[in-house]
Symmetry: C2
Subunit: 345 residues, 2 copies
DNA sequence: TCGAGGGCGGCAAGCGTTTGCCAGATTTTG
DNA sequence: CAAAATCTGGCAAACGCTTGCCGCCCTCGA
């Protein structure tokens, strides 16, 4: 490569070359290192010099190039957040919480969507891996071993997923499902079905386990149907399947599925909660204004996002100790659950 | 800085140093440049050599460092997407469309949330500016001059916002609002109110202008109320204000506001569309299952996101010519609009 | 008055890639 | 069969910034 003109003539229509640290140094009449320190190590340079440098920098419209900075320092001030489906309102709160916290800390979020596929998740993580200071995987579908491998390489925190030796923050997945079953039981329901989501879903598995156990200890029936796609589109199949059972209440993998089922029940002439009660998970946007408003388990997802970012930003080193955090969730009772009534027909 | 140990002993608990291109070169017995080319310029190196290099690379678990790559090449394979509020379902489709398209093209999305503030928007843009190959600003609140300045610096495309000399893609903002007014007119409504959103909202201004003009040419009354926050929380105030007018139909700045208003109307004993018709903008998630389902103008936001990314990825240079793209939107008539009926009391 | 120590700025070596240019080897062409 | 063209691989200079170390100069204390 030949020597590049420091101020190469910007061709017609091309963009101006932004000022670099070196430019500032030249204009300010100091060494590049001094400029660098003026920005990153205020105490290390004379106040007057610093003042002058900063003024020159402002004059040139200089902005430190984060890419170059990252290369030498190894710090990118960027966090990667990967979710399984940006489209799912479930993640909105999470993304928002993470974003807010990150931006407060001067960090930027790199967003990835895995489209529900472990393979895509792998690709996405591999792609952003080197560009970030830390990684947040929400509802990861990756096997524990891979998660562990990633964690060994870079600070990683899981959200609503746990794996050995990997830091995680989950919204409570024991008390919550239990509360649901107890709530239904107290309303007189004696037969429940769980409309399950994707097989690889860790949280889905947790939920079902607790539901099953709680039902058993209360002496009521609980069966699992599915898997169904965890989206509104999965609702009809799920609802139809539920109608084929003697259950008087259904617990859906998530609110999306629950809302989808709600509509199907209504279309098929079943009233909710008259004929059948419905409960969901997540308390997503819309759960409060669908018809009828949905009883659901609400977890502080934005808090989880915030927490994950906080860990990564303020104490990334603790991730090697792989602590696990759990945030409380609680049942939000709305109008989709009511007293059990004998099934029609 | 002293010479660094090429393979510095990784201390206890610290993360292993990932393999670099140089490591691969050494192991494969070739020059670094050859390794680089094996990855980025397949035709430039002998097939057998390439094969060998790739094998060695795989063995070392080598992954090119995007940061270093970006520094020299100036290309980051990253696009910045900044929206005014990630929480607003309005943007979900946009984000998803952009994400999908970006990931297909091997690009990553850097996400920014401006929290509805021009000042924050400025900060966010400045922060990610140098780390991306292109910028997408959705519903930007920045003044035209600033937008122009950014566009002069880096490929930039605006979504649902236009400014001189800046590339943009908008969902139609002329036919749509007109259709709304005509629809309402055909139902017999003779007095409308527009519940406006933020003052700085470009699209809001466009909408109102068309609504006003169309109403005038149809000889019906149209007044503007607000501004109201463009969220469900803004609904009650907006609804109450509307009730104070003789209007029989309201057009809300967006669906969020419309849904919020819907609930307030219901709470105050007004039936929709019996007493009053309501229409929104965006066709967000939930607009189809709120009560009653909302008549709204649906624009192909995911398509807009996709388009913006496509421009930036495949022909960033056209942004200097600042073309404007418009995507068709159409009215989705659901149950929140009906025949006008004289207002009660 | 002189040596010690602290403050402050500069030097230069990288960080991990990409890439213009060069040169030897090999193939094609006339 | 020589000359020209094509392949391939290597060299080394960047990209823009950070940072360990060195050394100058000024201030203090004895």
């Amino acid at each position: 490569m030949t020597v590049r003109e420091p101020t190469e003539p910007t061709g017609v229509g091309s963009r101006p070359r932004p000022a670099t640290l070196t430019d500032v140094a030249r204009v300010a009449g100091v060494a590049p290192s001094t400029v660098s320190r003026a920005f990153t190590r205020p105490g290390r340079v004379n106040a007057a010099t610093r003042e002058h440098v900063l003024r020159m920098a402002a004059e040139l419209g200089y902005r430190p190039n984060p890419v170059a900075r990252a290369l030498e320092s190894g710090r990118t001030s960027t966090l990667g957040l990967v979710v399984s489906d940006i489209t799912n309102p479930h993640f909105f709160a999470l993304v928002r919480g993470a974003e807010r916290q990150a931006s407060t800390a001067g960090f930027t979020l790199l967003l990835g969507d895995t489209q529900q596929s472990p393979q895509t998740e792998r690709t996405v993580v591999d792609r952003i891996h080197a560009s970030v200071d830390g990684l947040i995987l929400a509802a990861s579908r990756l096997p524990p071993a891979e998660l562990r491998a990633y964690a060994a390489t870079k600070p990683l925190v899981l959200i609503n997923r746990q794996a050995q030796d990997v830091t995680s923050v989950v919204t409570d997945h024991v008390d919550g499902p239990r509360q649901i079953v107890e709530h239904l039981h107290s309303l007189g329901h004696r037969a429940l079905v769980f409309l399950s989501g994707p097989r690889e879903s860790w949280s889905g598995a947790q939920r079902w386990a607790v539901i099953r156990d709680t039902a058993k200890s209360l002496g009521i029936a609980a069966t699992r149907l599915g898997p169904f796609p965890p989206s509104m589109a999965g609702g009809p199949a799920a609802a139809d399947a539920a109608i084929g059972t003697p259950a008087t209440a259904v617990i859906a993998h998530n609110d999306l599925l629950a809302i989808g089922a709600l509509r199907r029940f209504s279309d098929r002439g079943f009233t909710v909660p008259g004929d059948i009660s419905v409960v969901g998970f997540d308390d997503i946007f819309g759960a409060d204004f669908c018809a009828p408003p949905l009883t659901t388990l609400t977890g502080p997802l934005d808090e989880a996002g915030r927490k994950a970012v906080e860990i990564l930003v303020t104490q990334p080193e603790v991730t090697v100790r792989a602590p696990r955090f759990s945030l409380p969730s609680h049942l939000k009772i709305r109008e989709s659950t009511g007293p059990a009534r004998p099934r029609r027909s």
